[in-house]
């Protein structure tokens, strides 16, 4: 029976994966017919359509609701190591457990609704989200950034040596290559040269940025 077909675990996992590719990662060419024929060939199209819409809706709703807490959580984790305990307060508020509790509550409510999902489906969706949320979060962030992002950074330090033509003696220089790129576009490489004085100037500026970040994170809002 078709309803039983829709409850299976493995095809649902594949479906969620494909929907995530389409919704969050911008992967082209994922059509309803492709999904149905690949994953649920026994199910007639008119039954598959509402089912697909339901799963797509559940996934999208997470993108909306789950994102902010996940971002704050990962920020706290990134800053955590040498930072004072007031920042760690944030971490407990935005802990992963809260995400999952909310998730479980949401899914349970869905299973109780008329025309909602089965508990088997809820289990598959829960498993899928736990393993994919980081990737989905990053995708959503990247898509909303229209400036170039920093894709990579590499550097080396050269020591200049004395020459009879130049008064410079032994001035080391740092060569830094930044890889920048806009979402969906090729990278641009920017190569910069710094002497020791400049490096320390930048360091001072960066410590001001870090100061700003810790002020922002510690302010409840």
């Amino acid at each position: 029976m078709a309803a039983g077909e829709l409850e299976g675990g493995k095809p649902l996992s594949g479906l969620l994966n494909a929907l995530a590719q389409d919704t969050f990662h911008g992967y082209p060419g994922i059509t309803e017919e492709l999904l149905r024929s690949q994953l649920y060939p026994e199910v007639p199209p008119e039954e598959f359509r509402p089912f697909l819409a339901k799963m797509r809706g559940i996934l999208k709703r997470w993108g909306f609701a789950m994102l902010p807490r996940l971002i704050l959580n990962s920020c706290a984790q990134a800053i955590h190591p040498p930072w004072p305990s007031k920042v760690l307060g944030l971490q407990s508020i935005a802990s992963a457990d809260m995400d999952f509790n909310q998730l479980e509550a949401f899914l349970t409510a869905q299973t109780k609704k008329q025309g909602g999902i089965t508990s088997d489906q809820a289990a598959v969706i829960s498993k899928f989200w736990k393993s994919h949320k980081t990737k989905i979060r990053e995708s959503l962030m990247n898509q909303s950034r229209w400036n170039s992002g920093l894709r990579g950074l590499s550097w080396r330090v050269d020591g200049k040596s004395q020459s009879r033509h130049s008064a410079q003696i032994h001035t080391p220089v740092a060569i830094i290559e930044l890889e920048l790129g806009k979402y969906g576009q090729e990278s641009e490489f920017l190569c910069l040269e710094f002497d020791e004085v400049k490096v320390n100037q930048i360091l001072k500026t960066l410590s001001e940025v870090e100061e700003s970040i810790s002020t922002l994170i510690s302010q409840p809002n």
Binding site: G63, F64, A65, L67, P68, I71, L72, S74, C75, A78, I79, L140, M141, Q143, S144, R145, N147, S148, G149, L150, L153, W155, V157, G159, K160, S163, H165, S166, Q168, H170, P172, V173, A174, I175, I176, L178, L180, L190, C191, L192, E193, F194, E196, K198, V199, N200, I202, L203, T205, L206, S207, V209, E210, S212, I213, L216, I217
Partner: protein, 85 residues
């Protein structure tokens, strides 16, 4: 003593640029058409760089907080190394 034609050591190669200015701002993305409740902080940087001819260009980019942390950490490493050279 043979006259050698050494390239002047101060010549900047065509490839590397000098950093003229570094401006930054800490922003918070609140909402977008793909996600109503974004709420993520980011560091936006505007660099002014001068190439070997002296021409100044502007480069802008953004970093997430973890990316910024890595950026900062790398600069600290560079400072440590350049000190010892």
């Amino acid at each position: 003593m043979e006259a050698s034609s050494e390239p002047p050591l101060d010549a900047k190669s065509d490839v590397t640029n000098q950093l003229v200015d570094f401006q930054w701002k800490l922003g918070m993305a609140v909402s977008s058409d793909t996600c109503r409740s974004l709420k993520y902080p980011y560091v936006a940087v505007m660099l002014k760089v001068a190439d070997h001819s002296g021409q100044v260009k502007t480069k802008c980019f953004e970093m997430t907080i973890p990316q910024f942390q890595n950026f900062y950490r790398q600069f600290k490493e560079i400072a440590a190394v350049i000190e010892t050279v």
